[in-house]
């Protein structure tokens, strides 16, 4: 799937190193967005969201639905350029996915406040099965193009070729990271940080912890949707959203763990690291026959285990305080 496309792209340009680097950074940006949403939910609500991949795939499918099936809101705004129409559809899809996040939090997570973290994590595994299966059924168990305006367009800088989708991915990631950094400085963001630090103390300060939980899930799901969308338009020539899209977020899990489950910085660093390592292995070890197929896909997991042996809470993760 994604591996072969990355290899094909990296091998095309004569400047292999730079092209691999670009592919790695843009794939890393996708992982970073997915990891960011995951870490945000974990930090604010202490929930490990195994359904993150399914939510991402749902978000990507919503774009398919709004942009190509319904052509909404583009059908009422035909005077706008296609890019703007598509962006509006994509924003709508992200909003719907954020709504899904709120619904999940309300129905399945809120009743579990105060219960064992493990139990909540397993609940999200159950949610993953439900959302993934229903989404796959909606998309008809086949790949669906997103109808994105960039398609296979490529910018050429001398020897270096960059897909427009890659540039957009990286730019959107940077913007989202800056937005998040700003958000954490606002009043609501401060309330969320306080909730993450100590829920009871936050309540005593008059913070509505329930609202913060819902907000965290909404933002987390929205970030998942953005990650899902860009993993479906990227790399160029990708077939769009498929029943396997949900597993791309599973590949972001090593990124989260390497960075540390509760570290925003760790999510970005881990995402970029995993993206780069995966693309470099795919492009430079792709010809090593005894490694077989799909080795690039497991490298993140191996890297994760190696990191955990040295640092059991990830690179930037907070060590758990253990009390008797």
């Amino acid at each position: 799937m994604i591996d072969s496309l990355i290899i094909a792209q990296a091998a095309q340009g004569s400047d292999k190193l730079v092209n691999t680097l670009i592919s790695g950074v843009s794939l890393g940006a996708i992982y970073a967005i997915l990891a960011l949403g995951f870490v945000l939910i974990f930090k604010a609500t202490q929930v490990v969201n195994f359904a993150h991949g399914a939510i991402a795939a749902f978000g990507a499918y919503m774009v398919v639905y709004f942009a190509t099936v319904l052509n909404f809101p583009g059908r009422f705004l035909e005077f706008l350029p296609y890019t703007a129409q598509w962006t509006l559809s994509a924003l709508l899809a992200v909003a719907v996915t954020a709504l899904l996040g709120i619904v999940i939090e309300r129905l399945a997570i809120r009743p579990m406040i105060g219960k064992a973290l493990f139990a909540v994590a397993i609940i999200t595994l159950g949610l993953d099965l439900i959302i993934r299966t229903v989404t796959n059924d909606l998309m008809g168990n086949r790949s669906r193009g997103l109808g994105d305006p960039w398609g296979a367009d490529v910018l050429q800088f001398g020897e270096i070729r960059v897909a427009e989708a890659q540039i957009v991915t990286v730019v959107v990631t940077v913007v989202l990271v800056l937005l998040l950094a700003w958000f954490f400085r606002t009043k609501t963001g401060t309330a969320m940080r306080a909730t993450a630090f100590d829920q009871e103390a936050a309540m005593a300060q008059g913070i509505n912890v329930g609202t913060i939980f819902a907000l965290a899930w909404a933002i987390g799901a929205a970030l998942a949707a953005v990650g899902g969308i860009f993993s479906s338009v990227f790399p160029r020539g990708a077939a769009g959203v498929t029943p396997f899209t949900a597993f791309i977020a599973f590949r972001a899990f090593p990124a989260v763990v390497i960075g540390g489950l509760d570290s925003i910085v760790g999510a970005i660093v881990g995402g970029l690291l995993v993206g780069l390592v995966e693309v470099f292995v795919a492009s430079y070890a792709g010809g090593v026959s005894w490694l077989g197929t799909g080795f690039a896909g497991v490298v993140p997991w191996l890297l994760m285990m190696a990191v955990l042996l040295v640092k059991p809470y990830g690179i930037f993760g907070t060590e758990e305080v253990r009390r008797v």
Binding site: G126, L129, F250, G292
Partner: protein, 410 residues
């Protein structure tokens, strides 16, 4: 002490495997029922002896062994593992290499079952010990990710190790369930052929049923014994409060490694039996869904209890069949023209144009029966964890206590 089942006059009495007369009588009755099941001698449920039901029941017995193992690790020792499918695969492929037929592209030693079945468990346990150092170092939710990684690494290995796992999409043949003295000899007992046994005509699923039932009983007693003696208690103390356990002299790392090794042994044996029973499995069988299925089993059944693990297995393995039968019954109902049939028509789609949440054909708009089952799994996991964290076992305890205290149950 007749009539006072909760009064124990000595510690050994309390620690007995089956402390009350009621339990002993119930156990004997259950064993008689289980023994008669494939002979179609039971009233009302004699159809369970049909071979299509026996396949399901055999599958449930195999899953029960795996669930007992995961129950020890997750339920008793409190270590969350999503890697059960990986250890089952290790066991299955060990069995294939030790017991399978060699081919031009396949390894195989053609050993008899009494070699490959224990070997499957032992190799899986060894791999479990190899993984344990990482698992012992990380705690709680990080462990879930390590074991999740095992599933993906395993899938990569099985896809690429053609000599062990066979080609992608085709898999390989597993040795049949036959007990022979040594390689190349006629099997003493075959659990994989139709034919009479002591003068009674039996299908092969019925024969395998007795072998599997025996193994489940052995493994369940073993697990029960481990739980009530030193090793199981050290696991429970690690689960409940690990630092306190360490202070009391329980070696945490050793306990966790033991739990991993023993749970992997169970998983390995279950994997080998599963593969051998079905004869041919593709590498994609050992995926995350299988692991989640086992998690679902112990959570729905009730984590940390043997009875719960067994009830959970029966529930989770037999549920798809019930759902399928129910859906087909609805589809049949939808053909008629009563009030019920129009309601059924809303739920079931019988062809591509029909509206319905569930479709009996591949082209239909709704969920297929297979998809419906996966969604139901998810719903059951969520519902049980929110409303009944103790699972079926908890429900059973509540019903039992109600009648125990009757007529003063409030």
């Amino acid at each position: 002490m007749r009539g006072r089942p909760l009064l124990y006059t000595s510690y050994p009495n309390e620690m007995r495997l089956f402390p009350t007369t009621t339990k002993r009588v119930a156990l004997v009755l259950l064993l008689i029922i289980l023994f008669l099941l494939p002979l179609k001698l039971l009233p009302l449920v004699g159809f369970l002896g049909d071979s299509d039901w026996l396949i399901l029941i055999d599958r449930a017995l195999i899953f029960a062994i795996g669930a007992l193992g995961l129950n020890l690790l997750t339920g008793v020792a409190g270590q969350v593992s999503l890697g059960h499918a990986f250890f089952m695969a290790v066991g299955a492929y060990t069995a294939a290499v030790v017991g399978g037929e060699p081919g031009s592209t396949l390894w195989g030693l053609e050993m008899p079952m009494w070699v490959w079945l224990p070997a499957a468990g032992l190799v899986a346990a060894l791999i479990g010990i190899l993984v344990a150092p990482t698992a012992v170092r990380v705690r709680g939710l990080y462990l879930a990710f390590v074991t999740l990684g095992l599933v993906f690494i395993g899938q990569y290995l099985w896809r690429n190790l053609g000599k062990i796992a066979g080609g992608p999409g085709t898999g390989r043949e597993w040795p049949p369930l036959e007990l022979a003295v040594w390689r190349g000899q006629e099997p003493l007992i075959s659990f994989a052929d139709d034919g009479p046994w002591f003068g009674v005509d039996m299908v092969r699923q019925g024969k395998a049923y007795y072998l599997l039932l025996f193994l489940v009983i052995v493994f369940a007693l073993l697990a029960k014994n481990m739980m009530r003696t030193k090793v199981g208690r050290s696991w429970a103390s690690i689960r409940d409060r690990d630092i306190a356990a360490e202070i009391m002299g329980v070696a945490e790392a050793k306990g966790k490694t033991q739990a991993f090794a023993i749970s992997s042994f169970y998983a390995g044996v279950a994997g080998a039996l599963l593969a051998s029973f079905f004869g041919r499995l593709i590498p994609e069988t050992w995926d995350l869904l299988l692991s989640v299925e086992f998690i679902a089993i112990i959570l729905i059944g009730g984590a940390g209890t043997i009875t719960g693990a067994l009830m959970g297995t029966a529930f989770v393995v037999l549920l798809p069949r019930l759902v399928e039968d129910f859906t087909l019954w609805l589809a049949e109902l939808a053909q008629g023209d009563s009030i019920g049939s129009s309601l059924a028509n809303l739920i079931v789609a019988t062809d591509a144009q029909d509206f319905g949440l569930i479709s009996t054909t591949a082209a239909g708009p709704g969920l297929s029966i297979f998809q419906l089952n996966i969604v139901l799994f998810g719903v059951l996991i969520v519902v049980f964890l929110i409303f009944e964290p103790l699972g079926l076992y908890g429900i059973w305890i509540r019903i039992r206590n109600y009648w125990k205290a009757w007529p003063f149950s409030y």
